[in-house]
Symmetry: C2
Subunit: 434 residues, 2 copies
């Protein structure tokens, strides 16, 4: 694994060739507004969850070209000498505003707005989209799982089923949406997400007997640990687990089989053994539907892996980064003109936008309002300044993002958390420019 010095080459080749062209034509310095939005939610989903904004802000702050990176671009003739010189001096001096992490979003929501010279903004397109498209996909799936779990804690355990760095970002996004903890240590190290874990089947198998493994685990991790009871025979393992740890055993974990049936059987057995407070954790290929189906089972926590880190059927968020307005000249005072692609099938609304969520007298959201000028009377304002003239003014805080997500979701109509397929739970409305 190569140590990444800066994120500057986590970028599409064409961002740099466009830069070279724009430097030549003079368009590089035209004041421009790029907007991140999505034309649709994944099939059947009722809301999206903004995640990754904090990582975007960090990445933009570190977006500089090193000597090695410039040498690569020169050697492979990606761009010419004037462009290399421009890149050597690059840092983002424009402004970024957007939805806070944890906020719910809908088709057309202007999730992030990047404003500055055309060249300095276009360069960020790929990286901004990579982060937001990935992290928001995981956050959206996580949010549905947390709702389905109805208060029982969800544990993120998907690291092994996704790219090793995506795993860290995924654990962060899941925590944002209300997961209680993660198995991923780097997410603890880097972002302070609580980490948990005890043992896998290999731990039982490497010992001479299940009893040896349980005794060792209880001796090193205490009675409060979670013993994995499905390596051989579940009933026998549960009996032995309580025998070894006593009735104060923290939890048992089931990782295979018919979890609904097994949870009932294991609960009954634990109760009969006097281990009424011993919890049951289940962890086998769960998604939001499987979690919901276990609502009637005596389960205390859900460990979720593959389906979480692959977005439960929607591994990306289809957000785009579009030029929506630009000045007619490089004069910094030139007015902004709305622009939009006109070809078939992909309508875009030009111009810079503001966004508000209309809330009715009962405190329930009714509309996502997109306006072409600021107007706080329209509802709860959704856009906040993040970077102003190159300086970060609001880093995202994960704990605040968790609260925001809870509040934002609670404000949506009740049908938001239905798992059945449906449309966006509130409509997106474009306010008249009058």
């Amino acid at each position: 694994m190569v140590t990444i010095s800066t994120p500057a080459l986590l970028t599409d080749h064409y961002e740099l060739t466009m830069l070279q062209g724009a430097l030549r034509s003079g368009a590089a310095d035209r004041r421009s507004v790029f907007e991140v939005f999505t034309r649709r939610l994944p099939e059947g989903r009722r809301y999206g969850v903004v995640a990754g904004t904090g990582r975007v802000i960090e990445a933009v702050a570190e977006f500089r070209f090193t000597g090695d990176q410039l040498e690569f671009l020169e050697r492979t003739a990606v761009v010419d000498r004037p462009t290399l010189d421009w890149l050597a001096d690059y840092r983002f001096r424009g402004s970024i505003s957007g939805y806070r992490e944890g906020e719910c979003y809908f088709p057309g929501s202007p999730i992030l707005t990047v404003e500055g010279g055309f060249a300095e903004c276009v360069l960020l397109e790929t990286l901004v989209l990579s982060i937001l498209n990935h992290d928001s996909a995981i956050a959206a799936a996580a949010s549905r799982m947390v709702s389905a779990a109805a208060g029982r804690p969800c544990i993120e355990m998907g690291s092994r089923r996704t790219h090793e760095e995506a795993a860290v970002a995924g654990a962060r996004a899941a925590y944002l949406s209300g997961f209680a903890s993660t198995s991923n240590l780097e997410a603890g190290f880097r972002y302070g997400v609580p980490t948990v874990g005890t043992a896998a089947h290999a731990f039982t198998l490497v010992h001479d007997s299940e009893r040896d493994a349980f005794q060792t685990q209880v001796a090193t991790l205490g009675k409060g640990t979670t013993l994995l009871v499905d390596t051989y025979d579940v009933a026998e393992a549960v009996r032995m687990a309580v025998e070894v740890a006593g009735p104060d055993l923290g939890a048992v974990r089931l990782d295979s089989g018919d979890l609904l049936w097994m949870a009932h059987r294991v609960r009954r057995q634990l109760d009969e053994l006097g281990a009424q407070d011993t919890k049951i954790v289940v962890t086998s290929d769960l998604d939001e539907y499987a979690i919901a189906a276990l609502a009637v089972a005596p389960v205390d926590a859900y460990g979720v892996g593959t389906q979480l880190v692959t977005g439960s059927g929607a591994p990306t968020s289809s957000m785009v980064y579009k030029l929506v307005a630009r000045a007619e000249s490089a004069d910094p005072k030139a007015p902004l003109l709305p622009v939009a692609k006109k070809s078939t099938g992909k309508p875009s609304l030009g111009g810079r936008k503001w966004a508000y969520r209309r809330i009715d007298e009962d405190g329930v959201a009714t509309e996502e309002i997109i306006a072409t000028r600021p107007d706080p009377a329209l509802g709860r304002p959704l856009i906040t300044p993040l970077v102003v003239d190159g300086d970060v003014v609001e880093r995202q805080n994960l704990a605040e993002g968790r609260r925001l997500h809870q509040d934002s979701l609670a404000q949506l109509p009740l049908s938001a958390t239905q798992l059945s397929r449906g449309d966006a739970v509130i409509p997106t409305v474009y306010a008249k420019a009058d």
Copy 2:
């Protein structure tokens, strides 16, 4: 974005608590064999493609704990002091063998075998699986797309639709499976994958006219460039593109609309304008089926994004890392005993394995043979030593991997490249232990 110093915390919490237990019980030093395999291919797929092995080897070589990482593990009480001391000295001193990158695989194929003390091997589980599960998922999708393209080049353009680091690994995996190039500059920088790119719609929109944009692009990138012709009116843009660049224009790109119909219309127009050699590149939400459907269209290259980096419906590979054998004591001479989990639903075959592909007299693969001892008479040997006693003996070479994949795929029965759903194209057979 945090600079990653080492990959040691890209690991599940429970790997470290198992280590702590094993140090206490003495199982830490029991010689153990872990095997990476998958129980099944994604629904309907006929073969898998091994990718990521080279990245695994690099990551294992760099798997050391820094002072900061150890301080985190101490502060958060993940493990105790003796375990921290053990981790401070950690480097992998065991051996790894496996399928080479690019090789096709099937259910049960022992893709990677990790052998050493239990503790040193268990620690690598999460990272090994993250890399192989991700990279192989992308390589498998890429391989099907390359087959569907039937000789026309495929360009990887999916960076914006996946995690920013997954994008780099994805570009590498796609190249391994036969993609011609990528848009991802970091994949060029880090792995030498050829990179390409010209301009997006924003480049047209930031200029006062499409003509200005085309003139600028041709002036900076030459007549051989690819002009994007669907920002406004395609027919008008094609006419202008040839007018600006002349009949030697390299290519035009279509990114929306009915590509089959559009490609025919644009080809006819280009020919009428005398631009018979100008190519047509298409890039709108392609997958292997859309590529196959364009076989009859006058298209010269395919740019593939979302569907590639999300594994075309199978974003992960469901590989597992299982303890299959271990010594009965910490004595380095103690014999290895096969072990396997016995619970419902997830059968595993215990014991260390070798693998061969049986080839018939016509040179066509007929069986994947898994044996419990080496026997070259069984077919083409599939397992090669990669790390021996901690020393890397074979780094993977991307160019060789590309050739290997081509050869390995060509050796499978013809139905391997059918896009319709089916079973694994050859059966996996367990050789009698004699």
